[in-house]
Symmetry: C2
Subunit: 367 residues, 2 copies
């Protein structure tokens, strides 16, 4: 792929196709001091105030640096590489890291060791790349300072508060208002499917864990969705088209959102899973359609709960788990409160936090 | 529309159509004490653990209260009305309040007066309904306490923190890093189009405003989108299909997201507008397509900036503006710093906050 100049026009040549680049596209990218803020790279002009009837009057090419002279009297220099890079990245997922499917064989995943100032180091970049590949990451050797989870969240990006507050304590308590606050097993689920928007990433920080059970479990919703797509296309079709209602009711709030259990993007690729069988309400549909839906939901539940797709590990004191709540399901095995204490603190962040930090580090280390 | 019983089956009859309700749909709604938590209405069982081959063995109808006996030995009572209500609401927007289009003629909109404990009162319900109808609402007589905006946000739902912090101060400062922090005019825009997800609702609290300019301006992106759809279908088509990249670059973060300027939902209805002409980057497309895109973007910019669609009003000391950042554009007129001080505090919340409170109040006041 390369840039070509021909009769005062700029072309992009991909080998089998040569396409003129719109002169306004080039004009809009003017980078002179009075047009673009040096610091934040924001335009100092409104492109809608420029006449759209723009053309190029002269082009000088200085070893891949194009000097463009436009008919409205402006000119500036732009590198061919900048144009090519922007073109190559324009239709990609903003972070363009391919998801890697995994199942129970992935139990020996890499853990990352926490260190001071980690948020500005190369290891943070590696950790975030791993997070986008697998949907989760575990850090060890994290301080067990109370509320540190919030500091951690705000050092990547910004904590996403909910009506439960900035963070929540996962600990067995008397008269719990949720199964999470007991010592019972939790089957795989996604968090807050009734929220709009659904929090993107959950962080869980282990302050104390001296019981023998209470292992963390994770399932890759992407792997399971793709499996269903392959083996049970009818189920995949209905799970990705019927919207169920997720509900959460409390004294001062009634939260509801509707979504497919498998949410696809505009190109029919995997986008998000939601699963929380105590909170979901299928609509009244034709009986035959609901028949199929219930069978499909049973199948996805069976796979989510199967040992084949689950990794299981113990969060030790000082471990911190970060997981994609749009891609992964999480749960835990039961434990015995008489053996000791298990105390985790959790909170959420959104994708702008993880992506924003990842892009920053990529820029910083020229990766 | 009514419920009918026929040979141990439950039907929904809409007048011209009679459809059996799937017995599993009914079985899943079991509301006995050992099946449903009285407080949070959450299931105490996993419906995926029930055999899907469920049928009804006996139905007793006691004046619209159905007593259902299933083949797995369970039984419970459910009101016909509950089934009908769930059926009627199942495909509606979760809050089912129709948006009302408005333009500059709407300058005399109703303001709401703040009062103690407003968040649990009927007036809060009216205010939220108005917010969903018009996309914004103004409260007067709010305390001018510093940071009160955060208390306000967390009393509706939960503040949405960003990398700018929990809230931001809009005030003219020396060496500003954004036009917002000058006394210059701001043309209509949406906030944070580069964020993922984009904050849903912006709150702006006026602490001081003793300059003669600095009026707030609002434009209904829904009205303008519908206008373009009607008068310029080709522009509407390209604005709702070409994804542009929105960028925000700072020292410790690089935020990017891609979206159409007019975002439609799965049924091709209005969902969201984004507009921030200093931060958007159109992709390289065929020249003829970009030709059309730039013309279309010029047109929507022209309408957004036209006096025909804009309401303009002054936020007085103690006023609080709440606006839908997915629907509305906001801006301000310029002012003269030598005349006095203009000081606003702003923050964001999400739709789960406004919807969650609205549904709670609806339930509380039986509306």
């Amino acid at each position: 792929m390369k840039i070509e100049i021909d009769s005062k026009k700029v072309f992009i040549n991909s080998g089998n196709n040569k396409e003129e680049i719109h002169p306004f596209w080039l004009r809009e990218r003017i980078n002179n001091e009075d047009a673009l803020d040096k610091g934040n790279q924001q335009r100092l002009f409104d492109p809608n105030s420029i006449n759209t009837n723009i053309y190029i009057e002269k082009i000088e090419n200085e070893d891949g640096l194009l000097n463009l002279f436009f008919n409205d009297g402006t000119n500036y220099k732009i590198k061919e590489d900048q144009i090519l890079n922007e073109y190559k990245s324009q239709n990609l997922d903003p972070i363009s890291i391919d998801k890697i499917k995994w199942d129970s064989n992935f139990n020996n995943f890499q853990k990352f060791k926490f260190e001071n100032d980690i948020f500005e180091k190369k290891i943070m970049y590696d950790l975030l790349v791993s997070f986008y590949k697998y949907g989760f990451v575990v850090l060890t050797n994290v301080t067990t300072e109370d509320n540190f989870i919030i500091k951690f969240a705000n050092s990547i990006g910004s904590v996403r508060r909910t009506n439960f507050g900035e963070f929540f304590n996962v600990r067995s308590v008397p008269n719990p208002n949720d199964l999470a606050y007991t010592s019972l097993a939790l089957s795989p689920h996604t968090d807050n499917p009734y929220r709009k928007p659904v929090p993107c990433v959950q962080l869980l920080h282990c302050i104390t864990n001296n019981v023998s059970g209470g292992n963390s479990t994770l399932v890759d919703g992407y792997t399971v969705s793709e499996k269903i797509k392959e083996d049970y296309p009818e189920y995949y079709e209905i799970l990705s088209s019927v919207k169920v209602k997720f509900k959460f009711i409390d004294k001062t709030v009634v939260l509801e959102d509707m979504s497919e259990l498998i949410k696809l993007d505009e190109k029919n690729n995997f986008k998000q899973v939601r699963f929380s069988p105590r909170l979901d309400y299928a609509p009244i549909l034709e009986k035959s359609k609901l028949d199929l839906f219930y069978k499909a939901r049973n199948k996805i539940s069976e796979l989510y709960n199967s040992d084949k797709y689950k990794v299981e590990f113990k969060l030790e004191t000082g471990d911190l788990l970060m997981m994609d709540n749009h891609r992964l399901l999480h749960g835990r095995t039961k434990y015995d409160v008489n053996e000791g204490d298990r105390y985790l603190q959790g909170c959420y962040i959104d994708f702008d936090s993880t992506e924003g930090k990842l892009r920053h580090l990529k820029r910083k280390f020229n990766l």
